[in-house]
Subunit: 147 residues, 2 copies
């Protein structure tokens, strides 16, 4: 059984690849039964599409598998309101993130700073959240990129 | 100069077309300098994609025009958290909606019920919001569809 950090480390690799491709440092992947089903980096710059966040693209891919079962989303950074909304409509019932929105908003100006837990209080569907923002490396990739 | 209701009525027509096409009753359009730049209905069922909301698709189309100027989004129903997040990242600086999320959540179970104004308090970017939920017809299309 692979643990949370095994998959979170992978989202950081995807985020680094996104930067190499000219995009922003974000990566996400979806796991079911301890297996990676799909993954995506940020593609905002290369697609010239402000909605091309790692989590949104990953959820769009996930749907093509037409799985009716619940799945877990790992993401290098806490989802923004857009991605969290998409998660809410999807079959994701667990989110595991590295950097928090609160940490990101201190590094990049103009983000929509909202805690996933607070936003989800407005809906009935229950989604578990695991916060690994105490680990420095998920914040560091943003300090290096945005400063 | 066309008024808000002229464009809002059009979003209702788009919403009705979406239903005819097998989708959900939502429609959106984007206006710049009093002209419609692009429009979209909901395509969740026909694309088999839970992210294919009218507003998100409309914003994605809008970007292809590569306009740097601000624009106004008209939507038959107040944007969900996903679409509001997308609006926040886009060049939309004004939202005009018909049915409210609060009204919709009383008709359809399981929505993420959040007021756009409240969600936007978490960001620095200012977006004007005009609420036409006092007009019954924007709610009625949902009562007819979901009940």
């Amino acid at each position: 059984m692979k643990n949370h950090l095994y998959f979170l480390e992978k989202t950081l690799k995807i985020a680094n690849e996104s930067v190499k491709n000219g995009n922003h440092p974000f990566g996400a992947l979806i796991v079911q039964d301890n297996k990676i089903i799909c993954e995506s980096g940020n593609e905002v710059e290369t697609r010239n599409d402000i909605t091309a966040h790692a989590e949104l693209l990953c959820i769009q891919k996930f749907q093509t598998y037409q799985s009716k079962n619940y799945a877990t989303l790992f993401t290098s950074c806490e989802p923004c309101a857009m991605c969290l909304g998409a998660i809410y409509w999807s079959n994701i019932n667990e989110i595991i993130f590295g950097c928090s929105n609160s940490q990101l908003s201190k590094i990049v100006d103009g983000t929509l700073e909202i805690k996933s837990e607070d936003l989800l209080l407005n809906g009935k569907r229950k989604i578990k959240i695991h916060d690994y923002s105490n680990m420095k490396k998920f914040k560091e990739i943003h300090i290096n990129f945005w400063k």
